[in-house]
């Protein structure tokens, strides 16, 4: 690994100053499970590594049934999975966090790092998009907020400009009779990179099981995670029966733009998008009904 400088600021302001001062030569360090591998491989060569885990706000989970969830960018995946409130109200997000690597990886890896790494196959990103999460970003010119579906630009590239730092995710309070789900397909039981990942969130009308709101997001089937808006529009206002679920699956397939690679062919990935979308919708619906 090339020589680096290590900084561990205590506040967001200090971190932003450091990141702004060193521009492209600085890289925030969250869990490090991607960054250290990239430093060793020489695929990223920052001179300054800015450890953000000493900033209290970035390590915080705050949840209330009224205001929803503020999830610090540097909270490790295992802490998310172990949080009883999050498991109850955002089970899709907690299962995505619990699918990343081994327990050793989940002890360090963070949802913020997962997003900023910019991999199209990031497991937590479709789960965040499904929940309508907003990314709060601090920078030299002040703060801004970006919907997670607009955060990734291409593999490894995000909207973060030099000097900017992802601070937290703001996730809306769970509506009544709503839930979420994340499913990932890999060719083995654990510990692999997604061939396809699908996150969905659903709100149903308890009177007639009609869809009040829905969001569907796809991972590993395009250069960035994909928000499948047409599949969502076709669901809203309809009764969530087999035909509606099948139609959403077909429209999700249409939103995917996969490539052939070592993990699967484009044709296979399209097929799996349909399967996982249908299953995730069914699971989210079951959970939504159970939540009432």
């Amino acid at each position: 690994m090339h020589a680096i400088n290590y900084e561990s600021p205590k506040t967001i302001d200090e971190a932003v100053k450091l990141l702004a001062a060193h521009g492209e030569k600085a890289r925030p360090l969250s869990g490090g499970t991607d960054l250290l591998i990239q430093l060793r491989a020489g695929t990223r060569r920052p001179d300054f590594v800015v450890d953000i885990k000493h900033i209290a706000d970035l390590c915080k989970i705050s949840f209330s049934a009224q205001h929803g969830l503020s999830l610090g960018a540097a909270v490790p995946c295992l802490e998310i999975h172990e949080n009883p409130h999050l498991r109850r109200h955002y089970p899709g997000l907690t299962e995505a966090a619990h699918l990343i690597g081994s327990l050793q990886i989940q002890s360090r890896a963070t949802v913020g790092g997962n997003l900023c790494n910019g991999s199209p196959a990031a497991d937590t990103t479709p789960a965040l998009i499904a929940l309508g999460a907003m990314a709060r970003i601090a920078g030299p010119g002040g703060e801004r907020t970006v919907p997670v579906e607009g955060f990734c630009l291409s593999p490894g590239r995000t909207v973060l400009k030099p000097g900017e730092l992802l601070v937290e995710f703001q996730i809306p309070a769970p509506a009544k009779y709503s839930s979420d789900a994340y499913l990932r397909f890999i060719p083995r039981n654990e510990m692999d990179i997604a061939v396809v990942g699908v996150g969905v969130a659903l709100t149903l009308d308890p009177a007639n099981d009609h869809v009040v709101a829905a969001r569907i997001a796809l991972g590993a089937v395009g250069p960035t995670p994909i928000f499948a808006t047409q599949a969502v529009q076709a669901l809203v206002g309809k009764k969530l029966d087999d035909a509606a679920i099948a139609n959403a699956g077909t429209l999700a397939i249409a939103a995917a733009t996969p490539i052939d690679d070592m993990r699967g062919t484009a044709e296979y990935r399209r097929h799996v998008v349909g399967v996982l979308t249908r299953r995730a919708l069914a699971i989210a619906a079951t959970r939504a009904k159970a939540s009432a």
Binding site: S8, D51, E95
Partner: protein
């Protein structure tokens, strides 16, 4: 100009102050600076688990953490398991069940198993297999390792009951829901 960093940390119960380069991983610091060579270097990508140590109660890959990040943390390595000449129950059970052959994966397996039993003293076999999924062994076929951990749990290794984590796996929940749908 790169400056070395001073790191104050606690390793196997002892306060330690050390000087390291910021680019050195915790694994390199343990092995090369402190001569704690029990933790092994395997893949350096977080896949094999040979370098597993416990940091503030959690199993982590020491190859994926900088030495500088150890500041203020409590770290347990395989050297911290035995009490003098008395082996830790996990070590004893690994011997009794012949859970090692070449031995390079063993320190990592021991530390993952310890982290599990510290949080969950009575794990199911499924929970044990899940907790050890981040450790690779090319010799034993895993069964003997799992048996040793089952046996160690039966002998009450998980003395510290605090910090017990919920153990219901979401994969199980998902499977259950899908099963229900089929019926």
């Amino acid at each position: 100009m790169v400056h070395k960093v001073i790191v104050e940390t606690t390793i196997n119960g002892d306060p330690v102050e050390l000087l390291c380069e910021p680019r050195q991983s915790l694994l390199e610091v343990l092995r090369d600076e402190l001569d704690l060579t029990g933790s092994k270097e395997g893949c350096l990508t977080g896949d094999c688990g040979a370098c597993t140590v416990i940091v503030d109660g959690r199993a982590v890959c020491s190859c994926l953490m900088l030495g500088a990040e150890a500041a203020g943390k409590h770290i347990t390595t395989v050297e911290g398991l035995a009490n003098g000449a008395t082996l830790h129950v996990l070590q004893q059970k690994f011997l009794e069940h012949a859970s090692l052959q070449c031995g390079i994966c063993t320190p990592g397996f021991l530390m993952s198993a310890k982290a599990l039993l510290d949080h969950n003293p009575n794990p199911t076999e499924g929970e044990i297999r899940y907790a050890l999924a981040g450790n690779l062994c090319r010799c034993t076929g895993y069964d003997k390792i799992v048996k040793a951990v089952v046996d160690a749990a039966r002998h009450g290794v998980g003395a510290s009951q605090h910090g017990k984590v919920p153990t219901e796996s979401t994969a199980e929940v998902t499977r259950d829901i899908l099963e229900r749908e089929k019926r």
